[in-house]
Symmetry: C2
Subunit: 344 residues, 2 copies
């Protein structure tokens, strides 16, 4: 078996976030579902941008945020995703590399512009997203670097990859390479509306063994099993997965591993400034903890710690070293996983 | 005399800020003067960007920040400055208009890219700037809209305009139009190194009556009069100006009007997150207060309030309504100035 060079590699839509504050009225007036991600075309992107307030641009993308969070925790991390060779695309590349992440996906030379997500942050800190996929639509199976995937303890995939036309094939190719190399595959369901778009396919992935570790929040779990009752959903989830983590905002998370269930509280915070990235950063902490052999409860604590940092400022990329926060909280990471001992 | 339609119009370099956290060591290693603004060429811009950490892009520019602050205080405000018709230029235009500012300078169709300032924020909250002027270099006297200037109670100019080759002529043209329309002209000295580059010309502007209201911080004042002693500088300043406001960071500010001197304290804050824009937003408050006929002390309090908001978060654009903050502090603004009564 080849050597493990990365704790985690993420594959996802490479997006720059364009963040502005907005009142709840603005969401209503523009027909937006609060807290959800909607896909928009170029014309609507133009209309929303013209209507929205002064904005801040920060590199984003769900799996990309997770991977940057993993690097900030001290993990060895890589990312695969498609930008165009334009100003926003160069910003995205700069930011993820400057965060210490290996990123070598070839940018598109022509075609649509780098993807952007217009994020409206309401006074309660909740974020509502409208994403123009642009160049991210051109992620292709050829962009999957087999060497990187085979060398990653965990390959982490976002459900949003079901939206761009070829990314699904890229996703499946990566999962196959990972399993052939005896590595693990993790999936986040991304968004309740995304689950609604691809429910049958996601259930298939989970049940046929493509996914070893599932992340979802309560709304996504309810959407997956089409129920409004958390406990009902857990009964089915327990049968469908070997390991799943359900995040529940301020109520913390629940780790479900076969018959075992552990509830871990959220980390205390002063005020939610911008909820963007809460789930992404939770996943970062859990993935790194898991890759480094921590027990589920401690991995979840690491996730809660990373999520707490991100929601107290604008943007979904850490503003401080998450490793330093983990150290201060007494969570010690083991060294990198041994190639032979990890999948046991 | 024509009607007053704007409380304040700003003319300045139209710049997008690219903000990243950095340690003091980084500044030393890259030969940067902490707290200062250095002009850089395209090659150095590339080198700094490659070396710096993950960044946030927010529209900036000193006078532009001031004008957005004025609009946030409820004033009628306009801005003149040059961007290119590229992604960053369109962001700049979107942001300033979304803040409620009139902005109709024609973007450059060709030539260098929109100006950007790489801003390193050290752990103490101090900001160190490296600016690539790009398209801002092409601001030309033809870009000065005489109708806007004549309709503005105050025209506000930044000392940085001495750097681009034609902007100086634009500056002087605007000052002439303003005075012919019986309006006031304000100048900020911008930066101690900028003062060092253009000391004789700035002294000339101040002494020959081009400038009615001068803003400077302590370092700029010391640079202007080439002294390290504050009181010595004040003696000369008092002779050279009719009205000047010297900001002194946490010590507040001093308003010098002929023989009269008033010290006004800084507004209390919890922690300096990013000092970028402190002087710009102080000027916003003072200018709006002055345009609306408040006494110097109250105008300075309004400035202190706006500065306090800006240094408690990343970026030099307000994240909340400054008018609401002013209302909460009991500072009431009068209605717009009467055309005939203002310059009396």
């Amino acid at each position: 078996m080849s050597e493990i060079r990365y704790d985690v590699t993420g594959i996802g839509n490479a997006i720059v976030d364009v963040i502005a504050r907005a009142e709840d009225d603005f969401l209503v007036a523009h027909g937006m579902h609060k807290g959800a991600m909607a896909l928009i075309d170029e014309a609507r992107a133009k209309g929303i941008y013209e209507a929205m307030g002064p904005a801040t641009e920060i590199s984003g993308g769900s799996a990309a945020n997770t991977i940057v969070g993993a690097a900030s925790l001290g993990a060895r991390a890589a990312f695969i995703g498609k930008v165009k060779d334009d100003e926003l695309g160069r910003s995205f590349g700069h930011d993820i590399r400057a965060a210490g992440v290996a990123f070598s996906t070839q940018p598109a030379a022509a075609g649509p512009a780098t993807a952007r997500s217009f994020i409206m942050v309401t006074p309660d800190g909740e974020r509502t997203m409208n994403t123009y996929l642009g160049a991210a639509q051109d992620l292709h199976p050829n962009d999957i670097d087999a060497g990187v995937i085979a060398a990653s303890a965990i390959t982490y995939l976002e459900g949003y990859l079901w939206d761009p036309p070829h990314a699904k094939q890229a996703f499946l190719k990566a999962a196959k390479i990972a399993h052939e190399a005896k590595r693990k595959v993790a999936l986040t369901l991304s968004d309740a509306f995304c689950v609604d778009r691809y429910r049958a396919e996601f259930l298939d992935l989970i049940r046929n063994g493509t996914v070893d570790l599932l992340f979802a929040n309560e709304r996504e779990l309810h959407s997956l099993y089409q129920t409004g009752d958390f406990d009902t959903a857990l009964v089915t989830l327990r049968k469908d997965t070997r390991l799943a983590v359900i995040t529940r905002s301020e109520k913390g998370c629940v780790v479900v591993a076969g018959e075992k269930t552990e509830a871990v509280p959220a980390a205390p915070i002063e005020k939610v400034v911008d909820a963007t990235g809460a789930g992404d950063l939770f996943a970062a902490g859990f993935l790194v903890g898991h890759a480094r052999g921590l027990d589920h409860r401690t991995a979840a604590r690491l996730g809660a710690l990373a999520a707490a940092e991100i929601i107290q400022h604008i943007g979904a990329r850490p503003e401080t070293s998450l490793k330093a926060l983990a150290d201060a909280s007494g969570i010690r990471l083991n060294g990198p996983p041994e190639s032979r001992g990890f999948i046991s």
